[in-house]
Symmetry: C2
Subunit: 399 residues, 2 copies
């Protein structure tokens, strides 16, 4: 069976509804992939994910190699057996950590916007913990300060042991503040790494604990049209059955959507497209309209822990539960939501739990934000099934 | 209906099995009361407690008055409505905080043993945050440093708003290192406070959000036989329908069991007896044998968060999940346990979650320890139902 099948295409646009087939079940797309960096989605458990309707999660090879180690996970049944999440797993490669522990620290930036909104200049935030060579990336371990080498081959070997269904190769995620020359060189190195990853992938077929694993390719090229288009063609041409869009997405939302458009424009329609690290409601809708199928992002779960609760019933799509206005508010976070937090608890109680630093808060808030993402993505798929183009304003339903 | 009915008495002993009747359901005793200091049991939610078979929880008036305030809780439906836990609630008064923020800090001790095992002398751990007068206790708020006065009357008023089913009055919990003279004076003041609490209780009947609340009396007197016996007789004589054993329980386990024995020896059989702040498996069995019906203690939930998991299948009744020996252990924490953590996860995974500081750990570990307490108490009740005296060794079942 092909990895991906398109079910509905929206006339006159790139948006599509589809099914991504994995050995651990099908994923209805567009889909949000919950982030489970260290083999768990923070603050919740696999049975929670199942009851929320979460379809798939993404672990991180860099973090899992550091602890508990790919060998350990492999000996305990791979990520599916180790974590208890029996649905589809993605694993990211560590390529993002090349950036976040490297140039991201030096440049003081995230994937898109400057770290300090309103200030267009980057501000260094620290010393790089990464050394890059043609061979691979050498990381300073955040656990014990030791140096650990990641190569395209070692990352494949680790991911064979982790046993995720959908695997991402090692890449270099550049910074929005890297020069064109740097970005081009990094992009070309990522292409050479992609070929090495593919070769290692073919050599290790059927040696890992799980069969039917699939290796995606990653498109790089920063916010430069020619680099992005060339990278997309090259990665698709190497025969990867799926493609992820990685790296710098420019210095603004407009840049980001433009980058996505260049890439999907170059890709064959039958390849599933994953957008790495993007996940606000608005960004997802804009990327779906440009032909993206899956998204992973820490935002919904991290925002939950910081007190920002998503609500499709609010005009802005969210509320800050820490603010004093909710101290005696007996309403649920989102009256239209059917999650455990909204069925059983008031805003006042969640406000109290967060203010008190109670651990109970983090699970309830995470359940709510993930359930909201599930409902939002389901709403997008319903609009696509109707042959319509999704709009954020149609998906929010302020009461 | 009477508050308490005895179902089985063990011949030739004080141990009994019974039912404690509350407006929010009956509690089968002996029972463990899960600690929900700030209106939640840490790391779990009310639906979790229900699925675990937890019968009842205890909140803390001192902490709840500080945040979110008794008025706020009252306006949101009392503890039952605010927290979503619809079963029976106890509320402690703040009397323990008179000790833990006062003499406990000055003396560097807990309720029984010296804070530094093996060293019989106390070591001061800090400055008292409490001033005691005949009127009441003045606390320095741990939130903002302001001074807050608790009197027997104000604590009753607050607890009418909190609306717990079983309420404890303000007392002074003394230190094992207080002199006999100090302990006697404190005990007599606690008796005067008990009378003031009773008067305030009668004045405020039917003015709170919940009907059918019951006020327990608290027996004090340190580890002095005459003081404890006199206090037990006096408190029972004041007409309290239930009695709690509070305060210093001496300097050793032997002292503690002796104190319990003196008190229950003096109490009428039809009064339910609660032992405040005690909760290891061994301590519970010893106190049940001496006629105690209910127990509250942070130990099971706090130990869970620190990595100590109870297991009725281990000879010692527990295991330290942080130790490296569990890194690749595929067994559940306790093969005989039916909790979510034991049904779905290995020791290796819990070890990994704790080592990684993942929030998911805290709920799974707490579910497990609470479920173990529920199973343990149920085992005690089954032994009593057979007319036998419970022994810890009969309740542990090492595989």
């Amino acid at each position: 069976m092909a990895l991906f099948s398109v079910q509905t295409r929206v006339a006159g646009g790139e948006a599509r509804r589809g099914l991504l087939h994995t050995p651990h079940g099908d994923i209805a797309t567009p889909a949000f992939v919950a982030v489970a960096t260290r083999a768990t989605v923070r603050a919740v458990s696999p049975d929670d994910l199942e009851s929320l309707g979460v379809q798939t999660v993404i672990g991180n090879t860099y973090h899992l190699v550091l602890r508990p180690g790919a060998e350990t996970v492999g000996s305990l049944g791979g990520l599916h057996g180790f974590s208890g999440w029996r649905g589809p797993w993605f694993t990211d490669s560590g390529g993002y950590q090349v950036f976040s522990l490297g140039a991201g620290k030096e440049h003081g930036v995230g994937k898109v916007a400057p770290a300090f909104p309103g200030d267009s200049r980057p501000r260094p935030q620290g010393k790089s913990l990464v050394r890059l060579t043609e061979e691979g990336a050498v990381f300073r371990s955040v656990l014990d300060g030791s140096w650990i080498t990641f190569t395209p081959e070692s990352v494949i070997h680790a991911q064979r042991l982790l046993g995720a269904d959908l695997v991402l190769p090692l890449d270099e995620c550049t910074s929005p503040w890297h020069s064109r020359e740097y970005t081009q060189n990094a992009c070309e190195r990522t292409h050479r790494w992609a070929k090495r990853a593919l070769a290692a992938w073919e050599e290790t077929a059927d040696t890992g604990p799980n069969s039917g694993q699939v290796l995606y390719g990653i498109v790089q090229g920063g916010a430069y049209e020619d680099l992005r288009r060339r990278s997309a063609r090259l990665i698709a041409g190497l025969g990867f059955p799926g493609v992820a869009i990685g790296g710098s997405l420019g210095r603004s939302k407009q840049d980001m959507f433009q980058v996505v458009e260049w890439v999907t424009d170059e890709l064959p329609e039958d390849l599933p497209r994953h957008l790495l690290g993007i996940g606000t409601l608005e960004d997802i809708v804009q990327a779906v309209r440009r032909g993206v199928d899956t998204f992973d992002c820490v935002a919904p779960t991290r925002m939950a822990r910081n007190g920002t609760l998503l609500s499709l019933s609010e005009p802005g799509g969210r509320l800050g539960i820490r603010t004093a206005r909710y101290r005696r508010d007996t309403k649920p976070v989102d009256p239209a939501c059917d999650c455990l937090a909204c069925r059983g608890h008031s805003r006042a109680f969640l406000h109290h739990l967060l203010r008190s630093g109670e651990l109970t808060y983090y699970r309830l808030a995470t359940l709510h934000n993930l359930r909201t993402m599930v409902r939002f993505m389901s709403g997008i798929r319903a609009v696509l099934a109707d042959g319509r183009t999704p709009e954020v304003r149609d998906l929010l339903t302020p009461g």
